[in-house]
Amino acid sequence: MKIDEDKCVRCRQCMVYCPVGAIKEDEDTVYIDQDLCVECGVCLRSGACRVGAIYQPQLGWPRILRAQFSDPLVPHPSTGIMGRGTSEMKTNDVTGRFREGEVGFAVEMGRPGVSTSFAEVEKVTKALAGRVEFEPLNPVTSLIDPETGRLRDPDVRRERVLSAIIEFKTSEDRGLEILRLLKEVSEGLETVFSLCVISRCRDFEIPFRERMVTAGFQPRINGKTNVGLGRPLA
């Protein structure tokens, strides 16, 4: 996103809307820091600019990734849908993507509200490669070699996005090993990630939950529950 200096009246009304603080000012101008801007479109959609100075230039590769991962109104070419991830457990009652004895993970890099570069994303995917099954339909998976976790195009590393979700699964028996690995990797990051664990239920209980708690990973009091109304039931 950019600001047309000729139109801008320096009212600064747009500055508070930017989720990553990329709209800045110096003595003469209000401008958008192109390294920090994640192309989420919030400033443009906010309607804060009354003189139409904010505009969206055409984005080429690899900068277009910023919009695809950050702006929920831009469909991602790898999934064909808007949003940053897949339907993960939302349709698991029909797809059977996560089966009994398996644990799914979603590592949302940059969330909450910090943003991330793909260099940071790669630190995590490299650590996970060879240990987990990456979700093939996920937008991050489409950018990496699942065998090594490396980005296929090194130019992607410097791109920044509001968040990017790494989705994968493993067996329940290896779940704790992966949680410990993620904790270790998090200590070497320049950003944050939000983490969630997906598991099939048995009798209103979540079998992997007890193992997580025993190992010191305490889930939050709120979560997401697939109530099982989808058909045909997997």
Partner: protein, 210 residues
């Protein structure tokens, strides 16, 4: 994705915050599911959601009329509906079960309360799949303060900046804007319809007294 999962707050604060997410399964029942999604939205609308919509179409909080939202829903939609009352969630879920349209339904909210909602709505013997949030790790000093995250995490795609929250909170403290006016302005930034305007106004009211 996980956009309705990371709402923050105490059990007291979250007890009136539930989200339905409804979508067809790609390769299974997504193709041709739009009429079923529309019917499910009509059902949910009877129980007075705080907000409802989908990214492709828009949502109530962004000023779009209900009829227009429902009519424009396509097979690709991920429908969201936010409720601020557990009893209405129970009734809405019971009605969705009775309609038996075969489209997947998830509910985000306090995990134990959602189990209770399922029992009372008579939906199945137990949940099918659960998604548990484990918080965040890494450079945690970079995230917004706890109070601000109570609000920013209600926007599923983090379209609401900490700066606009702090700006409007300041105005509410000075009495230049009501908590509900601030909440409505914030809700317009959320493109998917997951933002709970009622809860946001309650939080702003509490924070503005501090």
């Amino acid at each position: 994705m996980t956009h309705t999962l990371y709402r923050e707050g105490s059990a007291e604060s979250l007890k009136n915050d539930y989200l339905f997410v409804i979508t067809g399964a790609k390769g299974f029942n997504k193709r041709g599911c739009a009429p079923k999604l529309r019917e499910m939205m009509r059902i949910l609308s009877r129980f007075e959601p705080v907000n409802m919509g989908s990214m492709e179409v828009g949502n109530l909080a962004r000023g779009m009329p209900l009829k227009e939202i429902i009519n424009n829903v396509t097979d690709a939609a991920i429908v969201q509906a936010v409720f601020d009352d557990k009893e209405r969630v129970i009734e809405a879920l019971r009605a969705l079960k009775e309609a038996d349209l075969g489209i997947s339904v998830t509910i985000s909210g306090l995990t134990e309360e959602v189990k209770d909602i399922m029992r009372k709505a008579g939906v199945g013997e137990y949940p099918h799949t659960s998604n548990l949030a484990l918080g965040f790790m890494g450079r945690t000093e970079k995230v917004a303060p706890d109070d601000v995250r109570l609000i920013t995490t209600m926007c599923g795609h983090h379209m609401i900046s900490r700066r606009i929250v702090e700006h409007l909170l300041g105005k509410a403290r000075e009495g230049r804007i009501t908590p509900m006016e601030a909440a409505i302005r914030l809700s317009r930034q959320c493109t998917c319809g997951a933002f709970n305007t009622i809860r946001a106004a309650q939080i702003i009211e509490e924070l503005s007294k501090k």
